[in-house]
């Protein structure tokens, strides 16, 4: 994901450089506030660690290996602002001393890997670890998922940066001046590579390191998790989300369903293929399959969210919404019941295996 010089226009590089300056300033303040005078060695060695993490070959099936970026791992270990600085410094050393990633493109690289990746990944991690103890396996899994999502969002941002180049920067006869592929090509390519392989490598390394530290070196995890209960037993009972609030949320959504009546027509002729605007999709006739299978299933309770022959469309929508929510709730209750979730909650004194 390291962008070399020459792929992005100088205007793009300049724009990302300008965007990164306030982010670095904010990160500097954020880190200094937390660790005061120990900030320089901690961040410096964090950056060195980040550089080393990028060199780890993670074995994947088929005997091949792949690298991880480690942006989310550093964010979980040292905090997100420290990660911004540590990853930026590691990237700068790679660009300046080892020719990996461009010098002019440093701002763009830092934006993708040192800002977007740790911020998104750490956000996911925090969202999933509210009221989770420090030694819980959920924490390692959340870090892994954070790594997966963080890397993929960073890859998407990179693909957008590449893909905009031929549209924005070309000569009068259409010769692309920088990276030549369009958004329609860059996004699927980057998404495929990162969703299928690189994301998992990132997730494995991130989750693996956190799981290892949970077993072997808990004090180190405390650097960024002060005040988190060590085990599940130490957790203070959480105030439960009241049924009243769930009812209010669901009720609001039910009340808003008639908004669907405002939208004109139907999407891609789903209800009435004849209503399809053929010219808009460059078609000569309604496709065979669509004509044959439209309206194939007739055994519905509320056909088209209808009620009493569509005399009161809004009421039809409301009743459909209530029925739908009840049906989904019953299915979820049956699934959870068959998985034994309720039983486990009723017997907290059970000794875990």
């Amino acid at each position: 994901m390291h962008i070399p010089d020459g792929y992005l226009s100088p205007a793009t590089c300049g724009a990302f450089g300008v965007v990164m300056v306030p982010i670095w300033a904010r990160a500097g303040r954020g880190v200094r506030k937390v660790v005061t005078s120990r900030y320089v060695p901690l961040v410096a060695i964090g950056a060195a660690y980040c550089f080393v993490v990028m060199m780890f070959n993670v074995p994947i099936p088929d005997g091949t290996t792949a690298h991880a970026v480690g942006g989310v791992l550093i964010a979980v270990l040292l905090g997100r602002w420290a990660a911004v600085i540590a990853v930026s410094v590691a990237l700068l050393i790679q660009a300046l001393f080892f020719g990996d990633g461009g010098v002019l493109a440093f701002g763009a690289n830092a934006f993708n890997m040192a800002f977007v990746m740790p911020m998104v990944g750490y956000g996911v991690y925090q969202l999933l670890t509210r009221r989770v103890s420090l030694t819980s396996p959920r924490r390692a899994a959340a870090a892994g998922l954070g790594g997966y999502i963080g890397l993929n969002v960073a890859a998407l941002v990179t693909a957008v940066e590449f893909g905009l180049q031929p549209t924005l920067f070309h000569t009068a006869d259409g010769t692309p001046l920088y990276a030549p592929f369009h958004l329609g090509q860059t996004i699927p390519t980057m998404a495929l590579a990162h969703l299928a392989v690189a994301g998992f490598v990132e997730a494995i390394l991130t989750a693996g390191v956190i799981a290892y530290l949970q077993r072997a070196n808990l004090p180190v995890l405390r650097i960024n998790h002060s005040g988190v209960a060590t085990t599940d037993e130490d957790l203070v009972a959480a105030p439960k989300l009241g049924w009243r609030w769930i009812a209010v949320g669901m009720g609001t959504m039910i009340a808003l369903t008639p908004l669907g009546l405002v939208a004109p027509g139907s999407a891609f002729g789903e209800a009435a293929p004849k209503a399809l605007n053929l010219r808009k999709y460059h078609l000569n006739a309604v496709p065979d399959g669509l004509r044959r299978y439209a309206g194939w299933w007739h055994h519905t309770i509320f056909n088209g969210y209808d009620f009493a022959n569509d005399k009161h469309p809004a009421i039809g929508y409301l009743i459909s919404a209530v029925f739908g929510i009840l049906a989904i709730a019953i299915v979820i209750a049956i699934v959870l019941g068959s998985l034994g979730v309720y039983r486990r909650h009723q017997r907290p004194d059970r000794i875990p295996a």
Binding site: L42, I45, V103, L104, P176, L177, P180
Partner: protein, 308 residues
């Protein structure tokens, strides 16, 4: 001329069984342990080689680091705005000439630049030369595909040439700077350029401790390698080992950062970075700046004259 005056020979020599062409010994895919050890050794090799080259006499080695950083940045920007292949080729030729004048072995320099990013770029832009991606005047028709005529366009070829030449020239400029400047001088140059002192301090410490951490990792991997009897890979136990190594390295890195902080405080560190570098601009620096300015002006002038 010896290219490795200081780096020991065993470090720069290739291991016999690891010959990539497979001519000596049986070739097999290196597993993750070997790859990581080789990767770490390569970083060390590259750094030591840079230090060796930077200490040799040559054109760029005699220019003040701060002057070099500024002129290289300016040349990089000029390279980035150029829209004509001929100018980029001329700029690339100029970097070769400077490399020779700075006493860099030419073949090594070319290999270091072209492997692997420009060649990789060349491969990935091949599809972009087709009219499916870059529409334009078809110069090499390749037949039809689902009723559309497919061919290589002039626009696509020009674009591919532009990006490969630009990437190669940009990397050459950066490699020239880093190979001819010792890293501590480069950091000092950043300080004189008003980059925040704290940032330069972090950068310098990070660079220094990369090698310490790499040594730690290499030790753990070498221990693993020497305990492994066969080469069959067990992927899941391998992943567990990688995670444990990375975790243990973080523990060591954190302990190290506390010790380093204590050592800094013991030597009077109060949160302010100080430096003792003083640079003096001499006549040859002025000449170098003038030469670079003329090159940049000529590049931009010709680029403008040739039009878009």
């Amino acid at each position: 001329m010896s290219t490795a005056a200081l780096a020991p020979e065993w470090l720069t020599a290739r291991e016999i069984a690891l010959c990539p062409c497979g001519c000596i010994g049986k070739r097999r895919k290196a597993n993750f342990v070997e790859k990581t050890i080789i990767g770490a050794a390569n970083v060390l090799k590259q750094a030591m080689f840079s230090a060796d080259v930077a200490s040799q006499p040559g054109l760029l080695q005699r220019i003040q680091p701060a002057v070099k950083v500024v002129t290289m940045l300016a040349l990089l920007m000029a390279t980035a705005v150029v829209r004509h292949l001929s100018i980029l080729v001329a700029l690339y030729a100029a970097t070769l000439a400077i490399a020779v004048a700075s006493g860099l072995p030419l073949w090594f320099f070319v290999k270091r630049v072209w492997l692997f990013i420009p060649i990789f770029t060349g491969v990935i832009v091949v599809p972009a030369t087709l009219n499916l991606i870059t529409p334009g005047r078809v110069v090499i028709p390749l037949g039809t595909w689902f009723g559309h005529s497919v061919g290589v366009t002039a626009q696509g070829l020009t674009s591919a040439g532009l990006i490969v030449a630009r990437v190669a020239t940009s990397i050459s400029l950066v490699v020239l700077l880093t190979l001819t400047t010792p890293w501590n001088k480069l950091l000092a140059a950043l300080r004189t350029m008003r980059v925040p002192k704290m940032f330069v301090l972090v950068l310098g410490m990070a660079y220094r401790y990369i090698f310490y951490l790499l040594e730690t990792v290499t030790d753990m991997y070498t221990a693993r390698k020497s305990r492994t009897a066969n080469h069959r890979n067990n992927t899941s136990s391998g992943r567990a080992f990688v995670a444990a190594t990375a975790g243990a390295t973080f523990g060591k890195a954190h302990a190290l950062s506390i010790e380093v902080h204590d050592a800094m405080v013991a030597r009077g560190y109060t949160g302010n970075a100080r430096s003792i570098d003083h640079f003096q601009i001499v006549k040859r620096d002025v000449v170098w700046v003038l030469a670079c300015s003329v090159t940049i002006a000529a590049t931009l002038g010709v680029n403008y004259a040739l039009g878009s």
